[in-house]
Structure formats: C-alpha cells, structure tokens
Amino acid sequence: MVLGETDKAFTQMRRGTLASCVLALLSEGDLYSFEITKTLSKLEGLATSEGTIYPLLNRLNSENLVKSYWQESPDGPPRRYYRITREGLAVLENFTNQWNVFTESVNSLLKELS
C-alpha cells in the first residue's frame, strides 16, 4: 500500500460511515438539510460536500431510515426537515455497537505498535 492508497481508504471509510453519522445527528433531533451539511462540514475528517449529502439524505429517506417534511421558514424558503425513524434508530444502534468494537480493536493494535 502506497501513501495515496491510505487516503483512498479513508475516503471510502468516510463514505461508508457518513450515513451513520447523519443518523447520529438526527437522533438528537430533527434537522433540515442545510443544517446537517453545515454541522458535518465543521467536523474534522467528516467534511463533505452538499453534492454528497443531499443524495444521501434522499437515499436514507427511500430506505425508510429517516422521514422528511417541509416547514415554512421565517427567513427564507421552506426547509426540508428530516426525522430519524424507528428503523433508523435500530440501524444506528447496530452501527454504534460494531463501530465501538472495531475502533477499540484498531486503537489497541495501533497502541501496541507504537
């Protein structure tokens, strides 16, 4: 594995975990798409473009992991809000369990090597 491939692997991993990160954000409360993008863009390592987030939200919506609804905004156009569903919460819980095991294993291995 060369240096560039490490970046690729991280990109792939970020993409794979992005959906779960969105579900995690929504588990705290309903958010509209612009807010989700803004929040994710502030998190180091998770920064992603609108061009990825909007289709992703629509996919989660199609998979019934989130539900969307429109709400009038006091300053600007109506906003499309997303709410996590029961299925979404179950998927998030499953991901969290697996992620914890995975990161603990990777972290302990990296600690041993260092």
Binding site: T37, G51, P55, N58, R79, R80
Partner: protein
C-alpha cells in the same frame, strides 16, 4: 443584466438541467429533490452577504455537476424500483396516473355507451289487426278484392282522390324504452311537417287509444317503455293519375330516437294492400 440577475439565471439553468436529467425518475422523488436543492441554494445565498454571483458559484461547486447529482438520484430510483415487487409497482403506477386512467376509463365507457346507443334496435312487430279501409273522395268505401291466402287486398277507388286508413300497433320488444318520433306509410323524416296539407299525397298519423278504440289526436311522438306497445292509425290521401296505376303498400315506417340517435325501421303490414286506379 446585473450580477444578481446573472446569478439567478445560472441557478435557473442548473435546476432546469437537473430536472431534465431526472425526467425519467420517480416524479415525487425528483420533485422533492429539486425543491430541496433549490431551497438549499437560496439558503446558501441568503447566508452569504458578499457578491451574489460568487455565492452561487460556491454553492454550485459544492453541489457538483448536474450530471453527478442526477446520477446519484437515478441510482436511488433504480434501487427503489428493484425493491418494489410487481404488484407494488403497478399500485404505484396506478396511484401516479390515476387521473389519466380515470380519463381513459371515461372515454372507453362513453364510447361504449355511444356505440351501444347508436346500434340499439329493439324488435318491432305490428301486432294489431291491421285493418285497412280505403274510401272514395265522397267517403264511400272503395270496392276491393281480398286474397285471403296471401292476406292481400286490392282496392278500386272510383274517384280521382282516395283515402286509406289502417291501424298500426307497434310492439317494442327490448329491454330499453325508446321514443317513437314518426309512424307513416312513407319513410319520411319526422322533422318535415307532414301534418299540413301542401299537396297530395297527404298523410298523417293519429294516436289510437287501445281501450276506447278512438283516435287521441295527431301522433307527435310517444315514449314507449321496453316491451311496450303504441297503437296508431295511419291516414293517407292520394290521387289517381299522379302515381302509377297500382300502388302497393306492404310496410310502414317507424323512426325512433334512443339517447339522441335516430333509427329508421321498416315494419311489415299485417294486411298488405294495393290501390288500383284502373276503375277510375
């Protein structure tokens, strides 16, 4: 065109391109998505206080090309279709196109009803005795020869003008009622006013009361229920010399209306007759 207008035009083009690329995807999916992208662009522009053109350029760069966005949405649409079984797909299609399907059903039903109404023809019969009487101009009965075997009568009027009268009992055998517009010895349109004497032959029809056997006034049309009966008397006044020497009457004519469609039928007379002018 100022910068704000240029920015608006750029956004409009972007959204139009996206809409065109998503025209084959699920309508609700693409509509919601485009609405969301449009709202997002507006929100981004509102949050940027600087150059409007630059703000649009930034958000469009972040969104990526229309092709790239559309490709992701098309992939979602394909996955959704795969997940739906055939019955669900059909149900969804019906839900989305119900107005067209309803219109198509309306057209089919309307055409069927019109075709049926245009072709509806009950069975007709002349069920009455069909007695024919012919008189001379002075009211005296014309001599006649009756062929009982052929049920055919030949009348010999002795005056130039003669008058004939016969009973036509029209039985309508069918499930639907009709409106009889005209009954007569000639296939004449009922819309011609044949109740006024403009010349000979002059013919008119009376409604016959089946209980009293009396004429109830000129027949101006009558509604007849399915399997109903209407009795009429047909009168004709003609003169020898304007017609061939022997006029043979073997049918009478009925024009009826069924849901706006006019039909003409020819019904055999119970007693066929001829007028011979040889004796005149």
């Amino acid at each position: 065109m100022n910068e704000s207008e240029v920015a608006d035009a750029r956004v409009h083009t972007y959204l139009s391109n996206l809409e065109a690329l998503l025209r084959r995807t699920d309508k609700e999916l693409s509509r919601e998505f485009i609405r969301e992208i449009s709202a997002s662009i507006a929100q981004h522009r509102a949050s940027e206080s600087g150059d409007p053109l630059e703000a649009v350029r930034t958000i469009l760069t972040k969104l990526g090309s229309e092709n790239s966005l559309a490709a992701q949405m098309i992939a979602i649409d394909i996955d959704n279709r795969r997940k739906l079984g055939a019955p669900m797909r059909t149900a969804k299609y019906l839900r989305r196109n119900w107005s067209w399907l309803l219109f198509a059903l309306f057209v089919v039903v309307t055409v069927s009803v019109f075709t049926w109404a245009a072709n509806y023809q009950p069975e007709f019969s002349n069920s009455g005795p069909g007695g024919v009487s012919v008189t001379n101009a002075n009211g005296a009965p014309a001599k006649n020869i009756n062929d009982h075997y052929a049920n055919f009568t030949t009348f010999f009027p002795t005056t130039k003008i003669w008058k004939a009268k016969l009973i036509a009992s029209i039985g309508v055998f069918g499930s639907q009622g009709i409106h009889i517009d005209y009954v007569g010895l000639h296939p004449q349109s009922p819309w011609l006013d044949d109740t006024k004497e403009y010349g000979l032959p002059y013919h008119y029809t009376y409604l016959l009361n089946p209980y009293t056997g009396k004429e109830d006034g000129l027949f101006n049309g009558s509604s007849v229920p399915g399997n109903g009966l209407v009795e009429t008397t047909i009168h004709i006044t003609d003169q020898c010399g304007t017609s061939p020497s022997a006029l043979i009457y073997s049918n009478f004519w009925v024009v009826y209306d069924f849901h706006g469609f006019h039909h003409v039928v020819e019904i055999p007379l119970n007693q066929q007759f001829a007028i011979s002018c040889n004796g005149y």
